[in-house]
């Protein structure tokens, strides 16, 4: 192994409401820290972009220092910097990119722009080692529900098998939680409430699972509507939040895992990786485990703390890119708030403004 020859990679993440910094070398997590502005958004029922951007400014320096302290390293030990360049909130992304460029430039080390979702995929390598080639990845978060066929994450294009046609699974949890009077963010609240509920109490629909439906596409807005309709109909005292939460969670977990296992079978892939915030859901995990075991598929889910947004996962991608000899980003690299996932690297270019008429 060329172990100690690889540089320590500093990863920086600021695409939404979490400010993250992580340090990775040779696939090993050395230290990381995350600050969240989630509490400041709670009363608005969703992330307020300007509040998130302001919080990133205050958190960035402390989070980087905390990650270094946890790793027992100094800034001078950093040999490469990786940063999320998209997708995400534009003002929030700009903060992380400005910090990453400054660290890379002042340390005289290469900078890599990383696709946020590739970060979620790579998070699992920090716990379970390198990903097999190929593997199937189910990304389920507040903003995404996608099935990806991944070969060599650092070198090969990522094949997008399917996406949600409307809401993401996490969004569905968050919105239904609001209807049920559960706190924000709704996903964890539904998971907690569901523990006391009966998953068979309400038979919610299983969207796009018919024989003629797109095998890899998802749709959660109909499920959200059904749950809202049920809540409004039962709001006269008999509203049983735990049953609704358990039944909704069952429907979401059923659809997600059914399609993911189908995709593995269709493509003869033996490993399923489930990543993103919704991978924290206890029922999604349990059902995926059950169905993968039955189908002879190895299931990999990153530990909870690496499922939500963090800098370690971005450092993990950076580490893979460094070792694959990828081309670093230029100092004028931009951001792309809505970049589709095609490659692990993401180096957007911003066009100059029309010259100002003096």
């Amino acid at each position: 192994m060329a172990g100690s020859d690889s540089p320590v990679v500093l990863g920086i993440e600021s695409s939404c409401d979490e400010t993250g910094a992580g340090l990775v070398r040779d696939g090993v997590l050395l230290g990381h820290a995350v600050a969240s502005s989630m509490d400041e958004h709670a009363r608005f029922g969703g992330v307020v972009p300007e509040i998130a951007s302001r919080a990133h400014v205050h958190a960035m320096g402390p989070v980087v220092r905390q990650a270094l302290a946890e790793a027992g390293l100094r800034l001078a030990d950093v040999g490469a910097v990786a940063v999320t360049t998209g997708p995400g909130l534009s003002g929030a992304l700009q903060v992380g990119v400005a910090a990453a460029k400054s660290y890379a430039y002042t340390l005289g080390v290469p900078l890599y722009g990383v696709h946020h979702l590739a970060g979620h995929v790579a998070a699992d390598t920090l716990e379970h080692g390198p990903l097999p080639d190929p593997c199937m990845v189910l990304i389920v978060s507040g903003g995404h529900t996608s099935l990806l066929l991944v070969r060599d994450l650092a070198r090969d294009p990522i094949i997008h098998l399917g996406d949600t046609l409307d809401d993401a699974a996490g969004e569905c949890f968050d919105k239904v939680a609001r209807v049920l009077g559960l706190p924000y963010p709704g996903g964890p609240a539904i998971d907690r409430a569901a523990r006391e509920g009966d998953p068979d109490a309400i038979r919610f629909p299983r969207p796009l699972t018919g024989p003629r439906d797109d095998r890899y596409a998802f749709s959660f807005s109909g499920l959200k509507t059904a749950a809202a309709r049920w809540a409004e109909a039962h709001n006269g005292g008999s509203l049983h939040v735990a049953d609704a939460a358990a039944s909704l969670q069952e429907a979401v977990a059923d659809v997600l895992t059914r399609k993911a296992v189908t995709a593995c079978r269709d493509h003869d892939v033996k490993t399923l990786v489930v990543v993103g915030g919704v991978a924290a859901n206890s029922r999604v995990r349990a059902l995926a485990q059950e169905r993968c075991a039955a189908a002879g598929i190895e299931l990999r889910v990153p530990p909870l703390k690496l499922c939500t947004d963090n800098g370690a996962m971005i450092a993990a991608v950076g580490d893979l890119l460094v070792r694959a000899g990828a081309q670093p980003a230029r100092l004028d690299v931009s951001i792309d708030p809505s970049a589709p996932l095609e490659h692990a690297t993401l180096h957007p270019v911003a066009a100059p403004a029309a010259p100002r008429v003096a």
Partner: protein
């Protein structure tokens, strides 16, 4: 002494190197939506032009605004990371003070009263009033030009924000754009005289736009 100065609180991306006596390199590009893209290349360019390396830098000077948020944050985050990585102090200065200093140095304003105004977008300006280029007599504020018309009536006005509202700012004088060279000169002066700096934190002057959703909106279709 070698100061690296930059300011991203106006449409200009401006960077300069100052050796304690004079500005030795400066770069200013006006591109209101590419601060994040252009700042580091500009910094790299002025350091190269000055024949300086990063290890020569003894302090970072940054305009703390007020200014439009996304660009403003780029400068402040960059300054903080530079300070951290180079182990040098970061000196914050009000962006409007930089424009006032530049106007004084080029003789477009004298020791009398004048105002500085930059574009705050949304039909507002960031502004402050001065009694001579080194003496700001109001806190920086954000207002609709019509609402401050009486307070700025007849005064010389510096900055591109003033030029946008000629009916309110009737005596517009150069410069229009912020210059990191002027900001660095002002900082060098303050360092020499033991003057004070601002913390390197953004001056937004407005609360974030955040509407509390008006109750639960039915997700049921009609």
């Amino acid at each position: 002494m070698l100061l690296l100065a930059f300011d991203t609180a106006t449409p200009a991306i401006t960077a300069a190197v100052h050796d304690g006596t004079a500005v030795v390199a400066e770069s200013t590009v006006v591109d209101a939506r590419r601060h994040g893209e252009l700042l580091l290349p500009s910094v790299d360019k002025v350091l190269a032009e000055a024949g300086a390396s990063l290890s020569d830098v003894t302090g970072v000077v940054v305009g703390v605004g007020p200014g439009p948020y996304t660009g403003l944050r780029v400068g402040l985050v960059t300054a903080a990371a530079f300070g951290d990585a180079l182990g040098v102090p970061v000196h914050g200065l009000c962006t409007l003070d930089g424009l006032a200093h530049a106007a004084g140095a080029s003789g477009t304003v004298g020791e009398g009263p004048f105002v500085v105004a930059t574009d705050a977008r949304r039909k507002e300006v960031y502004w402050a009033r001065y009694e001579g280029p080194g003496r700001r007599v109001t806190d920086p504020a954000v207002d609709r030009p019509a609402d401050i018309a009486e307070r700025v009536a007849g005064l010389p006005a510096v900055g591109a924000g003033a030029a946008l509202y000629p009916e309110v700012f009737t005596d517009v004088r150069p410069p229009a754009d912020q210059s990191a060279g002027a900001l660095a000169s002002l900082a060098a002066q303050r360092l020499a005289t033991g003057g004070e700096f601002l913390p390197a934190l953004p001056l937004y002057l407005r609360r974030p736009d955040a509407q509390v959703p008006a109750g639960y909106k039915a997700v049921l279709p009609k």
